[in-house]
């Protein structure tokens, strides 16, 4: 680079080709003039070429920015003493500081010093902090520069695809002249865009295409770079396991599949500190006790959690039952006097004990009550626990008794406990109606404390009372059914009698009807000429109650009508009295009326 620069400069320095106008030396021969002209022509052509080359070069510089040699990947090994302490690369254009002889890249020291002292190439040596500056001949020896420039590096376009490995000193020339992946101007001079050197002969590639994989639109010239560097569907090599993966999947590959990633042992929560590559994890897991235990312990933990929640539920239930039980005991003991009050003070202590113990004592208490079958279980139990101190129980009893008789409720229901009437869940074996029964029955138990003597416990007392009530009920219902039966029998008998009477009366009436018939027919035969008058006479006689001839007939008819009314009344009685009489009575009545109508 520096060589070409210097040659360009020297070729520019001679006078420009416009020297034709300068006066030619007069009197010279034609041959020399021709020679001069040829020389000028040559000179002009050389200048044109030179200019063309320079503009080309300037354009190339624009298209390909100068290579920063400190950012190169080195292929050959280099001595640590050749490394610049600032950029940690093999020195690039090394310079020596005056006075301390520390060596840095020219660019590194320039950047360091312009950053912090804008006055010029002057400042403290970064290594030894001595004030230093660049001398007039700061460059190190040519030998060192040659060694450094002979180091082999990868082409800076290697990630774009250039596989060249070149000496560091030739990198800039490689990019400006040879590298197929460096940019040059498009062959189509009207296009004005750049294209990679290797694609230069393909003509203008600046028309839009779309990527087959990701459907993105771009100029054809950029498609290859896109495939290699940008397309999310391109294949890349995993840095760790060097398998080919799609760029889009690389995060997932890292997390899930890459066999070279270090993953912790599955037994890590249990304390296994092992971390091995995914590929070797199986081997470790086979030997790791903690990894094998993992699932078992997990299952156990889950079961324990389940059981714990179940246990909590049961505890809660037990608490409810317990409060219900103690509240019930309160009610019962509140309605007892004397010795049972001692028992209530006993139950006051129960909740303060541990739950298991309290339930145990409660159950034993009931059991002992069953055994002894006598109403003083608490004191009995107290003496069983402390057989040596009956006097103390006596004194407590005597001290509590007067207060109990005065205010039984206030003593037996401490503020901690719910009021006995308060709604609380009860044990299922004691339904709520029992309490109302008990409340109704409570006056008896308080007025006659000796009455519940035979009962071993309040519960038993309640149950027995319930039982006796049920017996009473049964007795009452039996009496009721008996009464009912007797009553219905009575009605039946009455009915039968009435029916018989009606039948008898019916017979009588029929006989009388026949007599009347006979009498009327005899009368008619007797006075045939004034039959109609006689008939009329019969009618008026019936209404007026007079008539000598038909006097007997009239009496008979009267008797008949009274009999009929009597019959009708009897029938009504039968109708009301019993069902058995009703089917017969209408017929009978009809018979009577028909008879009456035929008579009339």
């Amino acid at each position: 680079m520096s060589d070409s620069n210097s040659t360009g400069h020297s070729s520019l320095s001679p006078p420009p080709p416009g020297s034709r106008r300068s006066p030619s030396p007069g009197g010279t021969s034609v041959s020399t003039q021709i020679a001069l002209r040829n020389m000028r022509r040559l000179e002009a052509r050389r200048n044109m070429e030179e200019n063309h080359y320079l503009t080309q070069k300037a354009r190339n510089c624009n298209l390909n920015p100068p290579v920063d040699l400190r950012a190169l990947d080195y292929v050959s090994k280099y001595d640590d003493n050749l490394v610049c302490p600032i950029c940690r690369c093999p020195l690039v254009d090394p310079v020596l500081l005056m006075d301390c002889d520390h060596c840095f890249c020219r660019e590194c020291i320039r950047q360091t010093w312009t950053t912090y002292s804008p006055l010029g190439p002057k400042g403290d040596c970064p290594t030894c902090r001595m004030p230093a500056k660049l001398g007039p001949r700061a460059s190190t020896s040519k030998i060192l520069v040659n060694i450094l420039d002979d180091l082999v590096v990868k082409c800076p376009k290697s990630e774009n695809g250039c596989k060249s490995e070149i000496k560091r000193g030739e990198v800039q020339d490689h990019i400006t002249i040879y590298c197929g992946y460096a940019m040059v101007e498009c062959k189509d001079s009207g296009c004005g865009q750049s294209v990679r050197r290797k694609d230069y002969d393909l003509g203008c590639l600046h028309y839009n295409v779309s990527c087959e994989s990701c459907q993105q639109n771009m100029p054809k010239a950029e498609l290859e770079t896109h495939w290699q560097l940008q397309c999310p569907d391109r294949q890349v090599k995993c840095d760790l396991c060097s398998s080919l993966i799609y760029y889009r999947d690389r995060e997932e590959h890292r997390k899930e599949a890459c066999p070279a990633v270090n993953v912790p042992c599955p037994g890590a929560p249990l304390g296994c500190t092992n971390k091995s590559r995914r590929a070797h994890l199986d081997i470790h897991v086979k030997g790791c006790v903690l990894a094998k235990l993992g699932p078992v312990l997990d299952a156990q933990k889950q079961r324990m959690d389940e059981q714990e929640s179940a246990h909590k539920l049961i505890n809660r239930k037990l608490e409810i039952l317990e409060t219900g039980f103690t509240a019930m005991q309160d009610i019962l003991s509140a309605n007892r006097s004397g010795p049972p009050d001692n028992g209530s003070t006993e139950t006051l202590i129960v909740p303060s004990r541990s739950r298991a113990e309290s339930t145990a004592t409660d159950s034993t208490r009931i059991a002992s009550a069953d055994d002894y079958d006598f109403p003083v279980p608490p004191s009995n139990r107290g003496s069983a626990i402390e057989p040596e101190s009956p006097p103390t129980t006596n004194t407590t009893r005597s001290s509590t008794t007067p207060r109990t008789t005065a205010t039984p409720r206030s003593l037996t229901s401490p503020p901690l406990r719910p009021a006995p009437q308060a709604p609380f869940p009860r044990p299922t074996d004691l339904p709520p109606p029992t309490t109302t029964d008990f409340d109704l029955a409570s006056p008896f138990s308080t007025t006659a404390p000796g009455a519940d003597g035979p009962y071993s416990s309040p519960l038993h007392h309640l149950l027995s009372m319930h039982e006796s009530l049920r017996d009473e009920m049964a007795r009452v219902s039996a009496a009721l059914t008996e009464l009912d039966g007797r009553h219905s029998m009575q009605i039946l008998n009455e009915n039968l009698r009435t029916r018989d009477e009606i039948a008898y009366l019916g017979g009588q009436v029929a006989g009388m009807g026949r007599q009347v018939h006979w009498l009327t027919s005899a009368q008619l035969q007797r006075q045939t000429p004034g039959g109609s008058a006689a008939a009329r006479e019969v009618g008026t006689g019936a209404s007026a109650g007079g008539g000598g001839a038909g006097g007997s007939v009239e009496g008979a008819v009267n008797a008949m009508s009274t009999a009929a009314t009597a019959l009708r009344g009897a029938a009504r009685v039968v109708n009301v009295g019993g069902g058995q009489g009703s089917p017969t009575s209408p017929g009978m009545r009809r018979g009577v009326s028909e008879e009456g109508r035929t008579k009339l």
């Binding site: 950012a71 302490p85 600032i86 950029c87 940690r88 690369c89």
Partner: protein
């Protein structure tokens, strides 16, 4: 420029992932912008060797020409060490990290060693004067603060 910076950080990272002096360890380096290191002090009763302190390095694109920002981080198991030049918000008053004191020949490892030795030579378990006021009022980046190095012995 950016090329030089990332190239150098890559090289440092490779070296740090290899070997480090005792008491210094790399915690995380997810990218070339922010790294976290743990340091512990080996021979000072003020700082038990079991206690670790978390350092956060933040690199600008002009590293190593420009100094990295280095502060102590507080975490559930990491405290800010007591030191007359370390504020309770983790900002370190060390000339090495100042724009005047920084030199591009330093690197992450050498900064860690400097901080480690700064702790190791300390004898006073106290905060800098005006710590509370500073912690409450300071909104500047550490590198922009002009510390007065009043005590060159520490």
């Amino acid at each position: 420029m950016a090329g030089m910076s990332s190239k150098r950080l890559q090289k440092e990272l490779v070296k740090i992932q290899g070997t480090l002096p005792p008491g210094i360890s790399l915690v995380s380096a997810p990218d070339l912008k922010e790294w976290q290191m743990d340091i512990s002090v080996l021979d000072n009763p003020l700082y038990p060797p079991a206690d670790k302190y978390r350092l956060r390095f933040t690199f600008s694109p002009s590293y190593p020409i420009e100094a990295p920002e280095v502060v102590f981080l507080a975490a559930p198991d990491r405290n800010i060490p007591m030191h007359p030049h370390i504020y309770s918000n983790g900002i370190i008053c060390l000339d090495l990290l100042d724009s005047q004191g920084w030199s591009p020949v330093h690197n992450v490892e050498s900064v860690c060693i400097s901080i480690q030795s700064m702790l190791a030579s300390n004898t006073k378990a106290e905060r800098p004067p005006g710590d509370k006021e500073f912690v409450r009022s300071n909104r500047q980046r550490p590198r922009d603060i002009n510390f007065l190095y009043h005590d060159p012995t520490v």
